[in-house]
């Protein structure tokens, strides 16, 4: 049996220890906000936060999260009070199909926790998730907005803005 904590709630799993956390979340706990994209840790759609680190849950067997605290997209905030990142995502109208966005937001959440004012280079490095709709320019703007680096709603990407805060 494997015990772990998701968004503050403790769960017990009787599944084989090699079951990826992704499928425990989606198919056992019916928490479908975390997405399946590639199954080999490349696309980032399944990103969750484990002990403060952004992790690709398709590559994390449940045996590795025994006793650990996991945050998924559902655990970020109550619906009426979005986090600064979620609010920035809405303000910049980031999502198109939206499928990769849970993973994007979790990766951005971990980035901002680590670097409150990330530079463009920091964003480039941290945000390796694949988005087929091509929301990348808006993802970058939303992260800067959430970081408070862009106070205005200027639509153009401002590459120098983040760097100036480094």
């Amino acid at each position: 049996m494997t015990k772990f904590v998701v968004n503050g709630h403790e769960f017990e799993s009787n599944d084989p220890p090699d079951m990826p956390l992704l499928w425990a979340l989606r198919d056992r706990l019916k928490m479908t906000g975390t997405k399946f994209g590639c199954g080999i840790g490349l696309c980032g759609a399944c990103t969750v936060i484990i002990d403060g680190q952004a992790k690709r849950s398709c590559q994390v067997p449940i045996s590795n999260v025994a006793g650990k605290a996991i945050t998924t997209i559902e655990g970020l905030a109550p619906i009426e009070t979005p986090t600064a990142i979620q609010a920035a995502w809405i303000a910049e109208q980031v999502p198109q199909c939206g499928y990769c966005q849970s993973g994007m937001i979790m990766a951005a959440t971990a980035l901002l926790a680590r670097k409150p004012n990330p530079s463009d280079a920091d964003i480039d490095e941290a945000m390796t998730n694949i988005c087929r709709c091509g929301t990348y320019p808006r993802v970058r703007r939303a992260i800067h907005r959430a970081a408070g680096a862009t106070a205005s709603a200027q639509p153009a990407i401002a590459p120098a803005t983040g760097a100036a805060h480094e």
């Binding site: 599944d15 084989p16 079951m19 990826p20 499928w23 989606r26 198919d27 056992r28 019916k30 928490m31 479908t32 906000g33 975390t34 997405k35 399946f36 994209g37 590639c38 199954g39 080999i40 490349l42 696309c43 759609a45 998924t72 997209i73 559902e74 905030a77 619906i79 979005p82 979620q86 995502w89 809405i90 109208q93 980031v94 999502p95 198109q96 199909c97 939206g98 499928y99 990769c100 966005q101 849970s102 937001i105 480039d124 490095e125 945000m127 390796t128 998730n129 694949i130 988005c131 087929r132 709709c133 091509g134 929301t135 990348y136 320019p137 808006r138 970058r140 153009a156 990407i157 590459p159």
Partner: protein, 749 residues
């Protein structure tokens, strides 16, 4: 997809034939207006086929077009809300894809390439009724706004008029002394007002007005203004429910292993080892695939890997990318050309000057939307219930019935989609899910493909080889362009898999669309195609044939400009003087891109491409930096878009930004190769995508226009290819004629 069924019906003579067979009397009963009121869902008052008002004031808007990321739920809602006089607030406006396949939900532009409001006369009437009787519902061909621009505003105006009339009757005043605003009817003279919800039941029983007056463009309050999308808040919380997120009581999970060789069949399957694994419920032979049903996807996927399947490749094991290319080249030389355009005398003109010739080659491409293929199906009491992310519930219905043609009913819940780009027009995964559900009656089964199955069994953008020849006249302008390509027909492949009819082949418009409509003032132009057939499954990839032809044509025009020693931008502008809209796009592009300014730095280059598709004109200028080692950076892409009357500029910008990045991934990395009858790639490790760090700065400029709307989901894609390769030529002098550029010595840094 737009000409799909028209071609089916025309080709088989069914249009008029079916009309006659069905009878005018029967066709007259097919409702193609949808404007009558009645009882709606969950106790709501139904004002028409699109608008329902619930007792709590919530307004339900039925959008029979699939939301795949293109923002159509918001776009259609804006058209209705403009006339209905409501505020678009996600808390009070609910958008749903309707489950009912009503005739009036037919995509008439998709079916007939003609705006429904322009359809008059007995032939149009008959065709409209025949398609509605199918009914032909699909989302594709960038057609939803084109199709709905008039009819959705009419639906809003009709509903509003009925609400105003109902309130006026209640108050005993003249309807024309009342007006509507913000979801209420007001009688200014007496200061009375009433919420829509309070008079909705009365309104729903009224006869719809025959010709409610629609707002002029000057009177628009919503249309043309940037609106936040209604679906975005849920997409930031993980609460948006995609097809793959379907959760049902006692649901089981399934996955499939499909014949690695296209067209192959299961010879035998030994499931002993798979069934011995924990959580495995059933192994099902699907003929060309084997399905495994388990407690979770993990269990099904693990068991699938333990299957021992012997395949019969049906003689297709010798197919390869090289063999297909060789067949294309042969077809170019000896294949019977299907000539779609023949202006002037091309052969004579080609003898009259030095011929410039170029051969271009483009690969098979996969769609690879982020949400893997999936469908949830339940077969119970002889009926199917399907939860499906799909672009055509009509195709879904056919696909389910193929799994059991005795089924009494097929109820389809169309979900939002995690991307589609044309892939989810196909019913292959629906058919599999339905067959698995039949094998597990009474239990909902969610079929999810692995990413590997998705890449190995896509319905690919056809590859092609195009040969272009041209001559520059003494005045420096081209006198002739001769275009011929060899490709495969997407429609033929699609129809064989999905339609009750077979169509396509040499006459498939997708083979050469975008080349046929080459807009430049060139006196002698010939556009021809020839096709080969292979077992490769083909389909519609964002912008369809335009994704190929825009690369050839806009590369070749650049080659002609170079031969004429002309500036590539001015060379094009000079050939567009007869065409004010396209010329205006080129002029704006020249200005916005700063074309006349010099690019600073070494290895820099700028390239331009213009292309019209789906009634929308797009021009793009790419700026690149190429290092000595071939490492490439696309620094900036400037886009100018004329899509006629804009509905939501926020969406237009997003779609064009997205199209640029979608096309850039294909340009740089996109290539599906075949060896021994099977696809070599299998996941994002070998079918790579552009990431955030590699994204160019993208600027989108929208031309102000009052022309009727064009499409916007696809038209940003085609010009990007040649804009970048022309920029690489400007930077390096190297002309790229074969895609992707990763195979041509360039690496995206």
């Amino acid at each position: 997809m737009s000409k799909l069924t028209r071609r089916v019906f025309l080709a088989t003579g069914v249009t008029v034939g079916a009309g006659l067979a069905l009878g005018a009397g029967y066709l007259a009963t097919i409702d193609t207006d949808g404007l009558a009121g009645g009882d709606g869902h969950n106790g709501a008052a139904k004002l028409n086929a699109w608008v329902e008002i619930r007792p709590d004031g919530t307004i339900r808007i039925a959008v029979p077009r699939a939301e795949m990321g293109q923002g159509i739920y918001t776009g259609i809602a804006m058209l209705i809300a403009e006339e209905l006089e409501i505020t678009l607030d996600p808390k009070t406006v609910i958008i749903e894809h309707p489950d009912e396949l009503l005739p009036v939900y037919t995509n008439f532009v998709g079916a007939l390439s003609k705006r429904p409001e322009d359809m008059g006369g007995p032939i149009d009437w008959t065709m409209k009724k025949v398609y509605a009787s199918v009914p032909f519902i699909l989302t594709g061909g960038s057609s939803s706004i084109v199709d709905g621009y008039h009819s959705m505003r009419l639906a809003g105006a009709t509903a509003r008029t009925m609400l105003v009339e109902a309130a006026a009757v209640r108050w005993g005043v003249a309807a024309d002394s009342c007006h509507a605003a913000n979801g209420r009817v007001l009688h200014q003279a007496s200061g009375r007002s009433v919420a829509y919800a309070e008079v909705a039941r009365d309104a729903a029983r009224r006869t719809p007005p025959s010709n409610p007056k629609l707002k002029t463009q000057d009177e628009f309050k919503l249309i043309g203004t940037p609106q936040q999308r209604l679906d975005i808040p849920d997409k930031t919380r993980g609460t948006a429910t995609f097809g793959i997120d379907t959760v049902l009581p006692d649901m089981l999970f399934a996955t499939v292993v499909q014949s690695p060789v296209f067209g192959g069949r299961v010879k035998s399957v030994d499931s002993t080892a798979a069934m011995a694994l924990p959580g495995v419920k059933k192994v099902v032979d699907l003929g060309d695939a084997v399905g495994v049903i388990g407690e979770t996807y993990y269990h099904a996927h693990k068991a699938a890997a333990a299957l021992a399947i012997v395949w019969d490749d049906q003689g297709h094991g010798g197919l390869s990318t090289a063999s297909v290319s060789a067949d294309y080249l042969k077809a170019l030389e000896t294949g019977k050309p299907y000539v779609k355009r023949n202006d002037g005398d091309v052969d004579a003109a080609l003898k009259n000057g030095q011929v410039i010739e170029a051969t271009y080659e483009t690969p098979l491409l996969a769609h690879a939307p982020m949400e893997p293929m999936n469908t949830t199906a339940l077969f119970k009491d002889g009926k199917f219930e399907i939860w499906s992310p799909n672009q055509s519930p009509t195709v879904v219905r056919w696909a389910a019935l193929k799994a059991n043609d005795k089924a009494k009913d097929v109820v389809i819940h169309t979900t939002i989609m995690g991307g589609a780009f044309g892939r989810r027009a196909d019913g292959d995964m629906v058919n599999q899910a339905a067959a698995l559900a039949v094998a597990m009656p009474g239990v909902p089964v969610k079929l999810v493909w692995s990413r590997e199955e998705d890449i190995l069994h896509d319905t690919y953008r056809p590859s092609a080889i195009a040969r272009m020849r041209g001559v520059i006249g003494a005045d420096g302008k081209p006198t002739a362009v001769d275009f011929k390509n060899a490709t495969q027909s997407a429609f033929l492949s699609f129809s064989r898999r999905n339609m009750p009819f077979e169509m396509g082949g040499d006459s498939d418009p997708a083979n050469i669309e975008g080349a046929v409509e080459m807009p430049y003032a060139i006196p002698n132009v010939r556009v021809a195609t020839t096709t080969i057939e292979t077992p490769i499954p083909l389909g519609f990839w964002r912008s369809v044939g335009n994704s190929n032809t825009a690369f050839y044509v806009e590369s070749f025009i650049d080659e002609l400009a170079a031969a004429a020693k002309a500036d590539p931008m001015d060379f094009r502008r000079d050939l567009l003087k007869h065409d004010p809209r396209r010329l205006a796009v080129a002029d704006a592009l020249k200005e916005k891109s700063g074309w006349a300014t010099k690019l600073e730095g070494t290895g820099r280059g700028r390239g331009v491409a213009l292309h019209t598709s789906f009634r929308t004109h797009v021009g793009e200028v790419a700026e690149v930096t190429v290092a000595a080692d071939g490492s490439l950076k696309v620094d900036r892409v400037v886009c100018v878009v004329d899509c006629g009357q804009v509905v939501n500029p926020n969406t237009v910008e997003a779609q064009v930004e997205g199209a640029v990045i979608f096309a850039l991934s294909a340009l740089v990395y996109g290539e599906i190769t075949i060896e021994k009858g099977r696809v070599v790639q299998g996941n994002f490790d070998r079918y790579d995508m552009v990431r955030l760090a590699q994204s160019p700065k993208i600027e989108v400029h929208i031309m102000p226009s009052r022309e009727l709307p064009g499409g916007i989901g696809e038209p940003g894609t085609p010009p990007l290819f040649a804009a970048v390769t022309n920029a690489i030529f400007a930077a390096t002098g190297k002309r790229i004629r074969k895609l992707p550029i990763a195979g041509q010595g360039f690496v995206l840094g």
